[in-house]
Symmetry: C2
Subunit: 237 residues, 2 copies
């Protein structure tokens, strides 16, 4: 429909009223179309200003994938498994492609994690950030999106299971090992390090394989889905 015209990022769309007139449809329909694009993260609307082609706006895409992937607590183990299949591969690719800046970025994140743990925190934020930064280092936008969505979903559940003493520091240690491999450009080593990380440090949260029914608690309904109300984004573009 609207995609025909190839528009550059940041460019402003015609106003809803003008668009409605040009397309000979009501403004409601135009709004609905724009809204759908906005929910897809392709476009951002700003009251009083206009509607613009999204620059990269990773966040909205990620949350969109996350909400789609998150089918309730039942699928949490599926998410974990996908991560276990994907992230070691990502670590390997990242090890081969990471730039110096990205490596420093990762290093910085680990320092943060260290600091957080020293302050008595769980370090989950830095933990998530590490996985995200690692995915970014693959220079593969699709991977970044999927991994971000996965990490997003797992973020909350991790917050609780991270409480176990020793886990935080072990997580940091294996993160360091991964970074070391990335720094060395050792894809295979990075893969193994990530595998170890996921197997030893992370997985206990859910554990359950695919045999039994639900060892999952349905009270864990804490996903950050936006409900009926459209969220207002204070995007400072």
């Amino acid at each position: 429909m609207i995609r025909e015209g190839v528009l550059k990022p940041g460019e402003r769309l015609p106003s809803e009223r003008l668009l409605a007139e040009q397309l000979q449809v009501g403004r409601s329909s135009v709004r609905e179309a724009i809204r759908s694009l906005e929910l897809r993260g392709l476009v951002v609307s700003k009251r009083g200003s206009g509607t613009f082609i999204a620059t990269d706006d990773l966040g909205s895409m990620v949350s969109l994938i996350a909400s789609t992937l998150d089918g309730g607590s039942e699928s949490l183990k599926d998410i974990f498994e996908m991560r276990h299949l994907l992230e070691p591969q990502i670590a390997a690719v990242a090890a081969q492609r990471a730039t110096q800046a990205e490596i420093e970025d990762l290093s910085e994140i680990l320092s943060d994690q260290d600091r957080q743990i020293s302050d008595g925190g769980s370090g989950v934020d830095a933990d998530t950030a590490f996985h995200f930064a690692l995915a970014s280092a693959t220079h593969n936008s699709a991977l970044v999106k999927v991994v971000s969505a996965v990490e997003d979903i797992l973020h909350q559940s991790r917050d609780q299971s991270m409480q176990a003493p020793g886990r935080a520091s072990r997580s940091l240690a294996s993160h360091r090992r991964i970074l070391q491999m990335v720094r060395a450009g050792d894809g295979d080593g990075a893969r193994r390090a990530m595998e170890h990380h996921l197997t030893v440090v992370e997985p206990a949260n859910i554990a359950a394989h695919h045999d039994g029914a639900g060892t999952v608690s349905e009270s864990q309904e804490t996903h950050g889905l936006h409900g009926l109300r459209p969220l207002e984004e204070t995007d400072g573009g």
Copy 2:
């Protein structure tokens, strides 16, 4: 905010007008909210009938992820790469978990593919179906969704590049090899077979990493990786 009331699949929501009255907001806003839920695949609206909680509706979720993942021609190689990282793993998991029924299903699909090719077709539909069925055999809904989205995106581009003579039959052959491994419950073998399939049969479509395979229009290709190494890991699993 609809989340509060736990609604069962298939249940009908209050009408837009009623909802608007109850929430003390305009019908437009209600519609917009419902639309956002519909785009997320959580709900389906039927004119004259009502709005219902989506049952499972894999399709809409998949197309949603696909649209989010599909950032234009620039990201096509990213999609390919993600597939290359993910599908061998999926094949391995599927080999370990596939039920007899699912194996027969896969076998059936290959028969279809054979038939399509004999009729002079490219067999892309059966091809996509195979990958989807394989993902389903993992019994992991998250994997199914992501793989489906990936296959969905690649479906069209594959349609064109599948024209090359010999490709279709080679695809079928390597599919057969994968199925054989799945049937044997050989996860590692399935992984390798899928890797071979993706490396030898599929990837040429886009190819153009940095050695210029030329089947891609030049203007589209300028955006991607500048000096990135192609991943060439023979995965010593």
